[in-house]
């Protein structure tokens, strides 16, 4: 090893001076990641905000038009409908994902045979490309040949096929159902990892003191799980709020814009519509909501530090 060091020494001298100082080496090591993130993340983020103030079209840089895009959006009923849709979609899908995910995590936290097998199988909807599984849902929600409609008709619950994606409210609930299906594994497996850090002895001690299983859940499990719930749900809300793929595959925002989310509207106005400026303004309008979710996460983490008693 010493031999190779000596032969390399002259070539290394120039870099050597930089790499001897902690800050210099830190700078060198950060360089590749920093270049990527500055050029393809920070710069586009700023550019996006700027584009929102211009009338840029595809292939033509626009001029500064101030708040014109936002004023236009403010008077656009379709924009307000998508804001409503996005909040509706996020609230209901997130609540359902949390409730069902927590339930599944509690089931998996029990002493079960084939536990690892169940865990592996349950994560599949999260692993498979969303667009491809959404296409399976598209087929499941087919207006004529839906397997759900067929089964319900065979059971005699309904007389004619349900028009899943053709009716505004049916379409809203259908895309929410598909989103819940996709999101449960993430919530369940993350919460399961949190549950496994809670010692069984706490539950046993509570049981000996006469706590019912509901009391053990609300007074022991839930408080200890709160910090992880905060983080997991922040991620879940972020993913749901900015969702694009499911809607794009299942409805493209239809029928009559009933399922358009802010992300899909922004895409539609900017890319097929060519109005980059207006699309960027819609994307920028999502940022305040996302900031609220991140702040929520930040305070969740703070609470966790305080509970652990260090830092």
């Amino acid at each position: 090893m010493t031999a190779t060091l000596e032969t390399r020494a002259p070539r290394r001298r120039r870099l050597g001076r930089l790499s001897e100082s902690r800050n210099g080496l830190g700078f060198l090591f950060m360089l590749p990641a920093a270049v990527f993130l500055l050029f393809f993340l920070t710069y586009p983020l700023g550019l996006g905000v700027w584009l929102g103030f211009t009338d840029s079209k595809i292939g033509r840089p626009g001029v500064f038009i101030g708040l014109e895009n936002y004023r236009w959006l403010f008077d656009d009923p379709v924009f307000w409908l998508t804001v409503f849709n996005t909040i509706f979609y996020t609230v209901f899908a997130s609540i359902a994902k949390f409730a069902l995910g927590l339930w599944l995590a509690l089931l998996l936290n029990r002493h079960l045979p084939f536990k690892n097998f169940f865990r592996a199988v349950i994560l599949l909807p999260w692993v498979v490309p969303t667009v491809l599984s959404a296409m399976a849902f598209w087929w499941i929600f087919d207006s004529q040949f839906s397997i759900i409609s067929w089964s319900l008709m065979r059971l005699g619950v309904i007389d004619q096929p349900i028009n899943f994606l053709g009716d505004p409210w049916n379409a809203r609930w259908s895309v929410i159902a598909a989103n819940i299906w996709r999101g449960i594994p993430f919530v369940a497996i993350s919460l399961l990892a949190g549950l496994q850090t809670i010692p069984q002895s706490l539950n046993e001690a509570a049981a000996i003191d006469g706590a019912t299983s509901w009391q053990r859940f609300t007074k022991v499990t839930l408080p200890l799980l709160t910090p992880i719930i905060a983080v997991v749900m922040t991620f879940s809300v972020l993913f749901t709020f900015t969702d694009f793929q499911l809607i794009y595959v299942l409805t493209r925002g239809g029928p009559v814009n009933a399922t358009h989310l802010m992300a899909t509207l922004s895409f539609q106005r900017a890319i097929p519509g060519g109005q980059l400026g207006e699309g960027a303004a819609i994307a920028v309008a999502m940022i305040p909501f996302l900031l609220a979710a991140i702040l929520f996460s930040f305070f969740g983490l703070q609470r966790r530090r305080w509970q652990q008693g260090n830092d």
Binding site: R22, G26, A263, I271, I294
Partner: protein, 291 residues
């Protein structure tokens, strides 16, 4: 937070069997059924002959008589599907490699070199992880167009690291933190350079972390959709998710057999990879949340 892997049966042993079936096994099987049914439906549709596909009166929709590979054959030999598969593989492998290399250096610098401002940098990396592609794709399309890489695989290879690097760095920071600092100190005392410490001590110990980050990054880039949809316009440069959706859906008559075959074949590579590395996958998913 270390996992308490106690194998104590806990309070479960006091439950009676019928109660256990009702409260544990029944809900669990409903969950598994609902979560897996779309995949079954995808697979069974992919091998159904066209005459059985929509003829629910004479054929049970849940089963298939005389499965056919006709849809797969059509997909592989009469469409650009193999080309999309190849593009997806190249883009995923290249962007994952770039991201892993950049992330190893960044994570090591933030976690171990502790240069001036490393804490702030770590926080910025976490915030970068939270920036969703849905608000970046418009300005990125603008940049990609100006740089002149629009409609090429390079556009995807260079933009995917924007969401892969923050994730991988964050995950690897956690792994590097778990490696005892004493190992590095003794190597420094023995005269090893930082480069030698990184390649001979830290990286071999962080192999599980590298595998986790690599697998997860590969899956994320395989599944990516919005950038590929925006930056690619010609058929021969598309990735599988975009190609299947935009090229196989023609007019009002959906060829469900071919569509589901495309979805099935496009999912298989990540599912196979996942089945070999389930534990790594789970640890990277939960690791990102727990750190």
């Amino acid at each position: 937070m270390a996992q308490t892997e106690d194998h104590a049966v806990g309070l479960d042993q006091y439950e009676t069997l019928p109660r256990r079936i009702l409260t544990v096994w029944l809900p669990l099987f409903v969950f598994v059924f609902v979560l897996l049914f779309p995949f079954y439906w995808m697979a069974i549709t992919a091998v159904k002959p066209d005459n059985q596909l929509t003829d629910y009166a004479n054929h049970s929709p849940f089963w298939v008589v005389g499965p056919t590979l006709e849809h797969m054959r059509y997909l592989l030999f009469e469409t650009t599907y193999p080309r999309w598969m190849w593009n997806t593989i190249i883009v995923s492998v290249a962007s994952t490699t770039i991201s892993l290399v950049a992330s190893v250096f960044a994570a090591y610098a933030i976690e171990r070199l502790r240069f001036k401002g490393s804490r702030i940098t770590g926080l910025m990396i976490f915030l970068a992880y939270l920036v969703p592609p849905s608000i970046l794709f418009i300005p990125l399309a603008f940049i990609v167009f100006q740089v002149g890489i629009f409609d090429s695989r390079l556009a995807l290879i260079l933009t995917y690291p924007t969401f892969l690097i923050p994730f991988c760095t964050w995950l690897l920071m956690g792994y590097f933190r778990s490696i005892p600092y004493e190992l590095e100190e003794s190597a420094l005392v023995d005269g090893a350079s930082r480069w030698q410490i990184l390649t001979k001590i830290v990286l071999p110990l962080a192999v599980p972390g590298l595998i986790s980050a690599g697998i997860f990054a590969f899956t994320l880039s395989w599944n990516e959709f919005i950038y590929a949809l925006t930056f690619i316009s010609s058929s021969e440069n598309k990735t599988v998710p975009v190609g299947v959706l935009t090229e196989l859906v023609r007019g009002d008559i959906y060829e469900w057999g071919a569509l589901m075959s495309g979805a099935l074949l496009g999912s298989l590579p990540v599912v196979i990879l996942y089945s070999f590395f389930v534990d790594y996958y789970v640890s990277s998913m939960t690791g990102a949340v727990k750190e």
